[in-house]
Amino acid sequence: MATREEELKDKMISALDGDASAYALLLNALVKELRIFFGRRVGDKDAVEDLVQETLIAVHTRRATFDRTRPFTAWLFAIARYKMVDHFRRSRFHALDGELEDSLAADDFEPASAAAIDVERLLDLLPPKQRQAIQATRLEGQSLAEAALSVGISQSDAKMSVYRGLRRLSARVQGKIR
């Protein structure tokens, strides 16, 4: 019987050769592994899911750094650990991160015109790609696919742009309060 390591590594190698169905199976298997990994180490449930997604994106964009002659799980968890350390490093921003995300996503956002002006001013501080991605998904309520299409970037890029933009905004807001 193949071990978990062998199973995952086989799928990874097929994926590196361009096999999309093996890749889909791999990523779904990784979600389970990563939820367990982060679940044990990170308290907040939302943070766990964020970390799972971030790690999936990193696995995707860095996949060519996997050496086929070496263990896959060591590679995977090295990436997961790096993302987790990054998370803890900026975790002091986290309370605000959540608040900002909620306030941007809230339905009764429109009446709060003063807040809207603030948000627009803040958004102007971001690079155009991040600003557009956040505007489309969080303010105009488009799906990620629509947003990606309208901004002219890939979906994972859009997802990352939204994420990075929000992170930057919360750092910015934090800086102003202090």
Binding site: A20, E49, L56, H60, T65, Y82, S156
Partner: protein, 212 residues
């Protein structure tokens, strides 16, 4: 976005990945950096006047070998740090070129009267040499940083330091075209100092530039 959608979008984006991706990107990054560095050398100082004659001398080639082997050793370590796993890094590789070149330096000192050590060590333009190598290393360092944009380094300071040393060593290879002094004592001192400076700058910048 839920995780399922994310997976779907990543699967759609999948393209086959080359086995030699790291090596390829490093070659492109260093190659472009070297081209810029050579252009800089010709623009600022030009090649040494006796370049054609010294190509036939052993002293020139031992110095060139010292810089080339330093570049190779550090590039090997850089390639290793491009991967996320924390396996053993063979930092001692960096000592090999220095230790191999050292006997030649000692031999020079033994053969030379102590009164003449000064001119040999300070050579022709030692003041500039270290800083020129450091300057020539800048485009190579940024070439390496470009390559790292698709890598997964997990020890950023170390990766930055090694990228710095590597860019310094490659810059020293380029600088051999100009440097009019072939004494081993000279290169061992001032070139190595340039590698250390470039490594320090790389360690400092690594945290910022190599994060992902």
């Amino acid at each position: 976005m839920n995780t399922e959608d994310l997976i779907n979008s990543l699967v759609i984006e999948l393209r086959p990945a080359s086995r030699w991706h790291i090596a390829q990107r490093l070659v492109v990054g260093v190659g472009v950096g070297v081209a810029a560095s050579i252009a800089l050398l010709f623009a600022l100082m030009g090649p040494r006047h006796d370049l054609m004659e010294v190509l036939a001398t052993g002293a020139f080639w031992t110095k060139a070998t010292f810089t080339l082997s330093m570049a190779a050793a550090s590039l090997f370590i850089v390639a290793h740090l491009a991967r996320p796993e924390q396996s053993r890094t063979h930092l001692w590789f960096l000592a090999v070129p220095v230790l191999a070149y050292l006997p030649l330096g000692i031999d020079e000192l033994v053969r030379t009267a102590p009164a003449d050590w000064g001119p040999m060590l300070f050579g022709h333009g030692w003041r500039h040499c270290t800083w020129l190598i450091f300057g020539l290393s800048v485009p190579i360092f940024f070439g390496l940083c470009w390559a790292f944009r698709q890598f997964a380094p997990t020890r950023l300071e170390l990766a930055g330091a090694m990228a710095g040393i590597c860019s310094g060593a490659v810059a020293a290879v380029v600088y051999c075209l100009h440097c009019p002094t072939d004494a081993a004592v000279f290169a061992l001192t001032w070139y190595t100092l340039a590698f250390i400076l470039a490594g320090g700058a790389g360690a400092f910048l690594g945290r910022r530039l190599l994060d992902w």
